[in-house]
């Protein structure tokens, strides 16, 4: 019996190819045959011997079956072991191969890591902000309802209008109203200012959210006349203020001096705009003023009703109401928007979509570059592969080894990419968390990680293995004789580089536009100076400041005390601080002028301010006078208008002394001054008409306190708290911050976009340059012989350099031409996030094209000089 030693493995392979059934049968048959022979030798007749042998053996069928079963399991085990051994072998081979060319490995890994890291990060952002469904029941059926004026498509709703809508609109199965309010929570420790939302009981079932503890309010809590004093806590407030105590239900809390009973706690996952901390019931009343529009309204579309149908019905109901109540509803219509548009906003949606496209391009560029690298490597190894094929390596074996190599590359690249993502995600969450809705829940999406890995694997298979396969099939003689030159792969690589340059150009144009737009945005003069101003918000509780006079007296006293404090240069109050996120507006009409068409309908933002407000934030007086201390409750009603207001309403006329009616109110207000415009909603939005009213004549209950300091504004915080508490020790001083933070937050989304785009564009530029450099170098090595001949025939080195660089620029040129066209075609999607820059801005396009040409030239010069220094003799002797 021959011992086959080291060939045992191959033998075992052959052995497995014998089916286990035949293996067992022949083995047992042999045994019986031998036994029969033995018995015949002992003198039995063949027939008897056969019977005796069988009898002695036992149940042949059962034993055969048992052996087959064991044999099958044995084969499975061995196959698995064999597979693992080969995999280990392939892995070792792959790692050795990658380590042998560290340059290729490093570039490929970095490219993959960059592509996967960036796309995973950005997709996680998109997922957190846009794609992730809202945590409500059937969120796509929820809509936001607005009243509209000829100039505003999104205005709040009055109580009687809400009730009429609720009664008349059939296309909405549910309606709910809510309004924000500021409440102070008293009790142990400092008074705490809370974001409260009053909501109709229908809100919670409409959104489809349930409390985790207790109950939400029902219709019995809002019976007309005697609304129950009940509140529902947010999860956060329950945790921070009540330590997550389950016994909180039934306890009473003191809100601004009134006792409320806690009846429920909402789940942590329940989010609502403005992040309310406490919920109170709201009972809209038909007897409220129809012109007083303060409610937010949401609805749920009835089954089979589309948003457009809902909108049509809402408009016709609004027309009915306008006919019935011309004095308050004359110019008013209705609007319906999706939940997404309300919670995320159109501008941010565009922003994230543009980023998604950009990151998709970057990922594609990464794949194209890796493909290029693999092609180059495969071409370089074609000789090796052909030799191995000629020596008998099966094609399957070669492909499997290359696949392992690609796999190793993709997995390591993806691991680095995921690592980058885990580093980037917390940074992005911190940068944009408060300014960008829903970003605070940013987390890594593992589906995206797998997508990135899949994309890199697909790239690897497509571009790493196809050429290798071709090589394994190629005629050995051909390959050896032609020195490994494969023209087809070279052409494919040129195409890939052109694509890569084109995509880089698109990304660079995008980054250029976003960058220019951001730069202009940062230079916008928003009409006031936020630096050096301390801001805090105060909310006077109705219980202690019920009358207008009480409120006015408080603000006047606070301004007086703070004004006398050292380190304070000026003090002002306003109901809405610029860029703090709020807005108040109402229709404005000129006394004695009848609005003839809706074109002449005017709505103006209004602010209730103290006299010191203008000096505090540096709004200049243009004409007349500012709001003064003398504009008291009993004094004639006055209004200070902005330049834009004056220009819109009284073009070419003197606005001073003119009279206006505000919000449908018949009492006239007299214009006493004109001040400079400010932007206070969005940096990119041109100033809208705005009017300033006296804080004594419209003493709002919640106000922003703004204090201009001589030094660091935040150093005033303890002083402000001390002075306010000297007047009212129970009043919380909330939202203390430097006013400059409002401005930086309002710029957060554009800054976010600009930053990410800048990173993408730099990465794209690097990829494009590496690609051009690689291809030109490859071209030079391929043409060594030709260049040698030309040098030998007397071509000057500068001619050689020129030729090579021209090749690089030609490649880039094709890419740039395609890229310019693509960027132009894609540009209209970007217009929505650009400020003061056209999406087709020629300067940006030209600058980017020039930059790429320059980079391509620079990337070609290195290989070109190398070519020019070639020694013709050696070049010709090569191969």
């Amino acid at each position: 019996m021959p011992r086959l030693g080291r060939f045992r493995r191959e033998l075992r392979w052959r052995f497995w190819s014998v089916p286990v059934e035949r293996e067992v049968d022949s083995e047992l048959a042999f045994h019986l045959e031998m036994r029969v022979r033995e018995l015949i030798d002992h003198g039995m007749t063949p027939d008897n011997a056969r019977a005796a042998a069988l009898e002695r053996f036992g149940d042949l069928g059962r034993i055969t079956e048992a052996c087959r079963d064991l044999g099958r399991r044995r084969n499975e085990d061995m196959r698995r072991a064999e597979w693992l051994t080969e995999l280990r072998h392939d892995l070792r081979y792959a790692v050795r191969g990658l380590r042998a060319s560290p340059g290729f490995t490093a570039v490929a890994l970095l490219t993959l890591a960059m592509g996967i890291g960036a796309s995973t990060t950005i997709f996680s952002v998109a997922n957190a902000v846009l794609l992730r469904p809202f945590a409500y029941y059937q969120p796509d059926r929820i809509v936001r309802l607005w009243e509209t004026t000829p100039v505003t498509q999104t205005f709040s709703v009055s109580e009687p209008n809400y009730l009429d809508w609720r009664q008349r609109v059939r296309g909405l199965s549910q309606l709910a109203a809510f309004a924000g309010r500021v409440a102070s929570l008293l009790g142990d420790g400092d008074p705490q200012q809370l974001n409260a939302v009053t909501a109709t009981p229908s809100l919670f079932p409409l959104l489809g959210v349930r409390p985790i503890l207790g109950r939400v309010f029902g219709e019995e809590d809002v019976k007309p006349g005697a609304p129950a004093r009940v509140v529902v806590l947010s999860y956060a407030l329950w945790q921070t203020r009540f330590g997550g105590d389950p016994g909180v239900i039934g306890r009473t809390v003191n809100l601004s001096g009134t006792s409320y009973e806690v009846i429920g706690v909402m789940p942590a996952a329940f989010v609502f705009p403005g992040n309310p901390e406490i919920w109170e019931p709201l009972a809209p009343s038909l007897s409220a003023q129809r012109g007083d529009r303060r409610l937010g309204v949401v609805g749920r579309l009835a089954p089979n009703v589309t948003l457009t149908q809902g909108l049509d019905e809402m408009r016709s109901v609004a027309r009915e109401l306008a006919r019935q109540h011309p004095e308050s509803n004359g110019d008013w219509g209705a609007n319906v928007t999706s939940l997404e548009e309300w919670l995320v906003g159109r501008e941010l949606t565009t922003r994230v979509q543009v980023l998604l496209v950009a990151v998709g391009l970057l990922l594609l560029m990464g794949c194209v570059n890796v493909a290029n690298l693999l092609l180059a490597r495969a071409t370089a190894r074609q000789r090796e592969m052909s030799v191995r094929a000629a020596l008998g390596a099966g094609r399957g074996r070669i492909v499997r080894q290359l696949l392992t190599e690609t796999l190793v590359l993709a997995v390591i690249g993806a691991a680095i990419g995921v690592l980058l993502t885990t580093l980037a995600v917390p940074v992005l969450r911190d940068v944009g968390g408060t300014a960008i809705p829903r970003l605070d829940e940013l987390s890594i999406d593992w589906r995206v990680v797998s997508f990135g890995i899949g994309a890199s694997l697909a790239t690897g298979i497509l571009f790493g293995i196809a050429p290798a396969l071709q090589a394994s099939r190629a005629d050995l003689n051909d390959v050896l004789r032609s020195g490994g030159r494969v023209a087809a792969a070279g052409r494919l690589r040129s195409v890939l580089i052109v694509i890569s340059v084109a995509m880089a150009l698109v990304l660079l144009v995008g980054a250029g536009l976003v960058g220019r737009s951001f730069e202009r945005l940062m230079r916008v003069d928003y009409g006031f100076r936020a630096e050096g101003v301390f801001a805090a918000s105060l909310a006077l509780p109705n219980e202690r400041y019920g009358s207008r006079n009480q409120r006015a007296v408080f603000y006047a006293e606070a301004a007086r005390r703070l004004g006398a404090t050292p380190g304070v240069r000026a003090v002002g109050f306003t109901n809405i601080a610029p860029f703090s996120g709020g807005s108040t507006a109402m229709p404005i009409a000129v006394v004695g002028r009848q609005p003839v068409s809706s074109d002449e309908f005017l709505s103006a933002a209004w602010r209730s301010v103290s006299p010191g407000y203008f000096a505090t934030i540096g709004v200049p007086l243009r004409k007349g006078r500012l709001i003064a201390e003398t504009d008291g409750e009993k004094a004639p009603l006055v209004v200070v208008v902005t330049e834009t207001t004056a220009r819109r309403i009284w073009p070419g006329e003197d606005p001073l002394g003119q009279q206006v009616r505000l919000g449908g109110n018949p009492t006239p207000w007299t214009v006493v001054g004109v001040v400079g415009d400010i932007r206070d909603q969005l940096l990119q939005q041109e100033p809208d008409p705005m009017v300033y009213l006296s804080f004594q004549q419209v003493p709002w209950s919640s106000m922003w306190l703004l204090v201009r300091a001589t030094g660091d504004p935040m150093s005033l915080a303890p002083v402000v708290r001390r002075e306010i508490h000297a007047i009212d020790p129970l009043l919380p001083v909330a939202n203390e911050q430097p006013m400059s933070r409002f401005v930086s937050q309002i710029a957060a989304a554009p800054r976010f976009t600009a930053l990410i785009f800048g990173l993408f564009a730099s990465a794209a530029l690097v990829l494009a340059v590496v690609g051009v450099y690689g291809l030109v170098t490859y071209g030079v090595t391929q043409r060594t012989r030709e260049i040698g001949v030309r040098l030998a025939l007397g071509a000057t080195p500068s001619r050689i350099v020129g030729g090579v660089v021209r090749h690089g620029i030609e490649l880039a040129g094709f890419g740039i031409a395609i890229g310019l066209w693509a960027a132009y075609a894609l540009s209209r999607f970007m217009q929505g996030i650009l400020y003061d820059v056209a999406a087709t801005d020629a300067v940006t396009y030209l600058a980017v094209a020039a930059l790429l040409v320059g980079c391509a030239a620079a990337a070609s010069i290195l290989p070109a000089r190398w070519a020019a220094r070639l020694d013709p003799v050696r070049a010709l002797r090569d191969d």
Binding site: M1, P2, L4, R8, L11, R14, F15, V18, E23, V24, S26, E27, L28, F30, H31, E33, M34, R35, R56, F57, G58, D59, R62, I63, A66, C67, L70, G71, R73, R74, D77
Partner: protein, 110 residues
């Protein structure tokens, strides 16, 4: 033919390993070897021999190669692996301990 002696549970594996330690053998050869060496005292139950071989092959104690028998037929030859050799040592030690203990009980005189 001699009276069949019932094999103690687990001893079959030890016997097969020991048999193969002398060199590769096919299944019938193993049965014969045990029978002949024990002067026909131990007759292997053939019903349990083959499943035992397959089981031990799976455990990696023995391995098989196709070879040609004395009668010119394709047949599996079993041989001991290094794992099997180690196993044999363990089983021999166990067997020694076991028989010593049994002897002590059986022949103890007081």
């Amino acid at each position: 033919m001699a009276e069949e002696t019932e094999l103690l549970h687990g001893t079959l594996d030890t016997l097969i390993l020991k048999t193969l330690s002398w060199g590769p053998r096919h299944g019938y050869g193993i049965a014969r070897w045990i029978q002949d060496t024990s002067d026909d005292a131990l007759e292997i139950g053939e019903g349990s021999l083959y499943p035992a071989l397959y089981r031990m092959e799976r455990k990696g104690w023995i391995e098989a190669e196709w070879g040609v028998s004395e009668t010119k037929r394709d047949v599996k030859f079993y041989s001991l692996t290094s794992q099997g050799r180690a196993r044999l040592k363990v089983e021999l030690a166990q067997w020694t301990r076991f028989t010593a203990a049994v002897s002590k009980v059986l022949y103890e005189t007081r």
